[in-house]
């Protein structure tokens, strides 16, 4: 693949409620697998914080959730992995910021990745970080 390596998909200090897509990591043509780690470095406050890892198959026009990391009011680290070789028997209506908590849609990997961060409540001194080891 082009450009295997470790990328930061997000490092976002969160305060008031937000629904915000971060800028994408691009030029990942040929990606076959991605290991993902999401971390909520928690300070105080807040209600829910979700990080939707997304890919695109049409050069960024449509974004598809491939993993959802859900956090609440405690610091945590969650990991998962995705493979481009997992066959999908059924089609998927591409969700954008709507995947169920702590689930993945395996088998779909385009040439770019980004994170949409959705929070509720007002956090203080908290950071959502997402890393992707792409290969």
């Amino acid at each position: 693949m082009l450009n295997p390596g470790l990328y930061a998909l997000a490092d976002r200090a969160i305060t008031t409620a937000l629904n915000e897509a971060q800028t994408p990591i691009v030029d990942l043509e040929g990606v076959t697998a991605v290991s993902l780690q999401a971390r909520l470095a928690y300070g105080s406050g807040g209600t829910t914080a979700k990080a939707y890892v997304q890919t695109s198959l049409d050069q960024g026009v449509t974004w598809i959730d491939v993993a959802c990391f859900a956090f609440a009011t405690a610091g945590a680290v969650k990991v998962t992995n995705l493979s481009a070789f997992t066959p999908r028997i059924l089609t998927v209506a591409p969700p954008d910021g709507a995947l169920a908590d702590d689930t993945v849609v395996d088998g779909l990997l385009g040439d770019r990745l980004r994170v949409r961060i959705v929070t509720t409540g007002t956090y203080s001194s908290s950071v959502v970080s997402v890393r992707a080891a792409v290969r």
Partner: protein, 126 residues
């Protein structure tokens, strides 16, 4: 590739040392993301010690290509407005680790030839 940029790439390959550039997010707690890249690190000459630059400061020269390849610092909050800075550029209070010593980025000066960024100069101290 621009001639000046190609010359810098050659100089970095020949004489550059590996440094780590670090962007931190948040305060307490905080997270960071690093990129390792080649740089030319040197002190300032006596003629350059003007305008608040002191003998303990260092000049760090890096190639914009290395930052682009690494896509450092990764996904960022989209910026809007008329005066949007290049998100690839290091900024004040990023950290540079040179030969095991962590130093603070005080100022960053991208240099353009025409429309192309051909080098990034940083003043670091600490």
């Amino acid at each position: 590739m621009n001639q000046e940029l190609a010359a810098l790439e050659r100089a970095l390959a020949r004489k550059g040392e590996i440094i780590t550039l670090r962007r931190s997010s948040g305060t307490t707690p905080s997270t960071f993301f690093d990129v390792k890249l080649k740089a030319i690190v040197r002190g300032y000459t006596p003629q350059e010690l003007v305008g608040g630059i002191s003998q303990t400061d260092s000049l760090v020269i890096i190639s914009p290509n290395d930052l682009s390849r690494a896509q450092w610092p990764g996904g960022q909050t989209p910026q809007t407005g008329m005066f949007v800075s290049d998100p690839r550029l290091p900024r004040k209070n990023d950290r540079v680790i040179v030969q095991g010593r962590t130093r603070n980025v005080e100022s960053v000066g991208p240099i353009f030839v025409g429309d192309e960024m051909v080098r990034i100069e940083m003043r670091v101290l600490g």
